[in-house]
């Protein structure tokens, strides 16, 4: 493999045909791409078949930031909890305004590309969207079609009736991760 000083670029093609050119270090944040690049089986354009262009843009944004963080963190030499807080705040900001269907696509993309950090951000967001909601609210939010008959649904509800009871004043608790 050639060790050129110039930054090596990688080209990615989204499911709807758009081609993105990114630095190799950015692409390598995705473990799936890292494996491919290391095995040298990705010389032309890498097709990302299950990710649409707008989603891929968001994914690349995330990867770029990760590269930036890892390059700057080598200069600060101690594990400071403030950077942890900052990272959390950054994650929240990154996920702000992401709607439910984009979120699902992001989860699929980060799962497929094997980007753990992004997957966790997505899962956190999803948890906060579902927690404290009633079934119908979740269905409305994600366009889930109820394919139970009313009798079937009633029966399932009765199996664990307590879970469907009215929520007390619901206080969101902090993630216990």
């Amino acid at each position: 493999m050639s060790e050129s000083t110039e930054k090596k670029m990688v080209r990615l093609r989204s499911s709807d045909g758009e081609v993105f050119e990114v630095e190799e270090s950015v692409a390598k944040v995705a473990k799936t791409l890292q494996d491919m690049l290391e095995e040298d089986c990705a010389d032309a354009v890498i097709p990302i078949t299950c990710v649409r262009a707008p989603i891929l843009t968001k994914v690349i944004d995330y990867c770029k930031d990760q590269v930036m963080i890892s390059s700057s963190s080598s200069t600060t030499n101690n594990p400071n909890e403030r950077t942890e807080q900052e990272r959390k705040a950054w994650g929240q900001k990154f996920m702000e305004g992401v709607d439910s269907s984009t979120l699902c696509e992001l989860l699929v993309a980060s799962n497929f590309l094997n980007i753990e950090g992004l997957l966790n951000l997505g899962v956190d967001k999803m948890v906060s969207m579902i927690q404290g909601k009633y079934p119908q609210e979740i269905r409305d939010m994600f366009n889930v079609v109820n394919d139970f008959t009313p009798e079937e649904e009633e029966e399932i509800r009765n199996q664990n009736a307590w879970a469907f009871e009215r929520d007390p004043y619901y206080k969101k608790r902090s993630s216990s991760k």
Binding site: N78, P79, S100, V108, I138, F142, V144, E165, Y169, S176
Partner: protein, 415 residues
């Protein structure tokens, strides 16, 4: 490259149900069991999904035992706690649900068990639960109570649970009672919050009986009856002591050759410190303050014990207490320190400046100084912190210290 797991058409539709099952389970595993169960009526895809979730998470603040469409009890009083209209039946109902679930899931498929409860947990029930938990190959247990009660008995079965790696306990200022001579045999993470320790109820060697422990957190804990805090743990990597009280009359002993991070924040100064063997220590954080007319002459014992640290975060008031001690060693206490984070308070900077100057002479190998303004929003500190002029203050103290440093020649500082 292969095709993605499922082709998703752009536009709208039920995207969440077509997510890969491992992701859905991952999402459900972060939800309280109540909300995981609710997904079972979303659609047929979701019918049994929650039963594969490897966590059980019950919080009785999430229980109301009123029908979804029933008139809310006290909408006007809503933000007040539900404890207002809580009765015995409700408690029993909650406990029954937990009983039933633990009984049902009597298989080896639960990784995490979380239980928060506002009533009194009787020892018998706890014992029963933990005898089940013991068989479940459980990795993490998180128990909390919302109400202060008599001594909380930790059942013996907890200690015998071989698979247990993480144990979190919040007792809301109740005493913890532990059988004599036991410890966690496989535990890696122990987090105790609002726990009261008394030598009457807990053996002083308790923390030393956890050979595999890597992370220990003590938050808002209280030590009564001069109970000593002895931590002799060979595997310990991080020790985090935050806002603990009552150490003034007791001793703290720490021996942890693998300790990397030590944090001692807003905690009273103990009568005596015996720190030894902290050879791996890299990062330490110390923030204490004067407590009444208390004896503060032991802080240097702690600082001397931290001599291996390469980075230290310390507040000005700690330095001031340290500098006021009478029997200080003649040699520099922090020979290995390279980086110093100084946490400064607005109201007291010039007052502390002399002490801070002295402190630099204790760190001959310092090559980086960072001055932080207070980073906390803690209300517990009362009038101790003044909230004003952050940036200006940083510049002010920075300038003062820089000026001061010019007068000193033997401190090679790149401030």
């Amino acid at each position: 490259m292969e095709e993605g797991p499922r082709k998703i058409a752009p536009g709208y539709g039920d995207r969440i149900s077509s997510l890969p099952e491992p992701i859905l389970l991952h999402i459900l595993s972060f939800l309280p069991t109540k909300f995981a169960i609710r997904t079972s009526v979303l659609s047929k895809t979701w019918r049994h999904l929650w039963t594969y979730v490897p966590t059980l998470d019950f919080d009785d603040n999430e229980f109301s035992f009123f029908k979804e469409d029933e008139e809310p009890m006290d909408t006007k009083k809503a933000p007040t706690d539900l404890r207002l209209f809580k009765d015995k039946d409700r408690d029993e109902n909650f406990l029954h649900v937990v009983d039933e679930f633990l009984g049902l899931r009597n298989r080896t498929d639960i990784h995490k068990f979380r239980l928060w409860y506002s009533g009194a947990l009787c020892a018998y029930r706890l014992r029963t639960w933990f005898s089940i938990v013991k068989k479940l190959n459980i990795k993490e247990v998180d128990i909390g109570i919302y109400k202060k009660q008599g001594p909380f008995d930790l059942p013996l079965a907890v200690f015998g649970t071989k698979s247990l790696e993480t144990f979190k306990l919040d007792l809301h200022c109740s005493h913890l009672r532990v059988p004599n001579c036991v410890g966690f045999c496989q535990l890696k993470i122990l987090q105790l919050v609002q726990v009261k320790f008394s030598s009457k109820y807990i053996h002083e060697k308790f923390f030393s009986n956890c050979p595999t422990l890597e992370h220990l957190t003590l938050r808002l804990c209280e030590f009564t009856c001069s109970a000593p805090l002895n931590i002799l743990a060979s595997g310990l990597k991080t020790l985090d002591i935050y806002q603990c009280h009552g150490l003034r009359k007791s001793e703290m002993k720490l021996k942890a050759p693998n300790l990397v991070t030590f944090s001692y924040v807003f905690t009273s100064i103990a009568k005596r410190y015996d720190f030894s063997d902290l050879v791996s220590l890299a990062y330490a954080k110390v923030r204490v303050r004067r407590e009444g007319r208390g004896n503060c002459s032991s802080l240097s014992q702690m600082i001397r014990g931290l001599h291996s640290a390469k980075a230290l975060s310390i507040c000005c008031s700690s330095i001031e207490i340290l500098a006021a001690e009478k029997d200080l060693p003649t040699y520099p206490m922090l020979q290995n320190l390279e980086r110093l984070n100084l946490i400064a308070y607005v109201c007291s900077c010039s007052y502390y400046l002399k002490a801070v100057g002295w402190f630099f002479s204790q760190c001959p190998n310092l090559n980086k100084l960072v001055i932080d303004d207070f980073e906390t929003k803690s209300k517990h500190m009362g009038g101790f912190i003044c909230f004003q002029g952050k940036g200006t203050f940083r510049r002010y103290i920075g300038k003062k210290i820089a000026n001061w440093l010019k007068t000193l020649q033997n401190v090679p500082l790149l401030a």
